[in-house]
């Protein structure tokens, strides 16, 4: 069994997502976490100070949000599809809706099209909305929308 197949099995059967993340060092660098919400993957980037891009607000760097969303899409594909290799990014596009606060950032992905050679993934990114006391009671604010194409399967070898 390849590393990828073993990692996917650990994630699907035991809910252990670490082996999958270890296959993508940049995801590990951003400390990207995967959880399941009623069986649907949710990806989280815990806040840390090194993510700050604008200290005046403070806001998380837009490039870090984009990198996180690309990782969310890639991990989503690794988890859902039975690919033998890590899918290759063809393109990525992001619309920024609001600046990202100094809190955890979440993403959820949807595979809008899965062909033999190409998959299209939609990525929604949000944060919890703090109330006046600074608590996070569960209301969310969308901060970015993304979409990405990935090359799959045998098409990658060419």
């Amino acid at each position: 069994m390849t590393d990828l197949a073993a990692a996917r099995r650990a994630a699907r059967e035991r809910g252990d997502f670490l082996p999958l993340r270890e296959l993508v060092p940049y995801a590990a660098f951003l400390d990207v976490q995967i959880t399941l919400d009623n069986g649907v993957p949710r990806v989280r980037m815990p806040f840390r100070k090194s993510l700050i891009g604008n200290p005046a607000l403070p806001a998380i760097h837009g490039g870090a949000v984009a990198g996180f969303m690309e990782n969310a899409a890639l991990l989503h594909l690794l988890l859902l599809l039975d690919e033998r290799r890590v899918p290759k990014s063809i393109d990525f596009s992001i619309d920024y809706l609001r600046s990202a606060n100094a809190v955890d950032t979440w993403a959820a992905c949807e595979v809008a099209r899965q062909g033999r050679r190409v998959a299209q993934v939609q990525i929604k990114c949000w944060q919890d909305e703090p109330d006046r006391n600074g608590a996070h009671p569960g209301r969310t604010r969308a901060i970015a929308l993304g979409r990405a194409h990935f090359l799959l399967g045998d098409a990658q070898e060419k």
């Binding site: 296959l23 993508v24 060092p25 940049y26 760097h61 890639l74 290759k88 063809i90 990525f92």
Partner: protein, 125 residues
């Protein structure tokens, strides 16, 4: 990340090679997210520089086309140019490469919203 130059003609920045930048350990490829982060930064710098005055900007969108794989063991470079400036919006083009600027690993277009007035804190300098 190292900012190499910023002026009204554009901005240049580089990213040193690091093992954490990998996205595919089997094939040994740099994660495209690293390239996006570099391009986002250098595009924002070009947007600010292109305005000809210090002002706050907000990124509206950014699109990346990953033309060829980026390999570990060498740095990434990026160059962004503001090619159209309107009172409200700045349009920026960028590319990223490793060995040869004429063989980019990625090209990008982005748009930025300009602030309606110069940032007072920055203008004072």
């Amino acid at each position: 990340m190292v900012i190499d130059s910023v002026d009204e003609t554009g901005a240049r920045a580089s990213m040193p090679d690091r093992p954490e930048w990998l996205g595919d350990t089997e094939r040994g490829l740099i994660h495209t997210g690293v390239i996006t982060t570099l391009v986002d930064t250098v595009s924002g710098l070009a947007a600010v520089a292109g305005a000809g005055r210090f002002e706050a900007i907000a990124t509206l969108d950014l699109r990346m086309d990953f033309l060829r794989p980026a390999r570990p063991g060498k740095p990434l470079h990026a160059h962004a140019v503001c090619y159209r400036l309107t009172p409200s919006i700045t349009f920026v083009r960028a590319s990223a490469w490793q060995d040869d600027e004429d063989e980019p690993v990625a090209v990008s277009q982005s748009t930025f919203m300009r602030s309606s007035s110069p940032s007072p804190a920055l203008v004072q300098r």
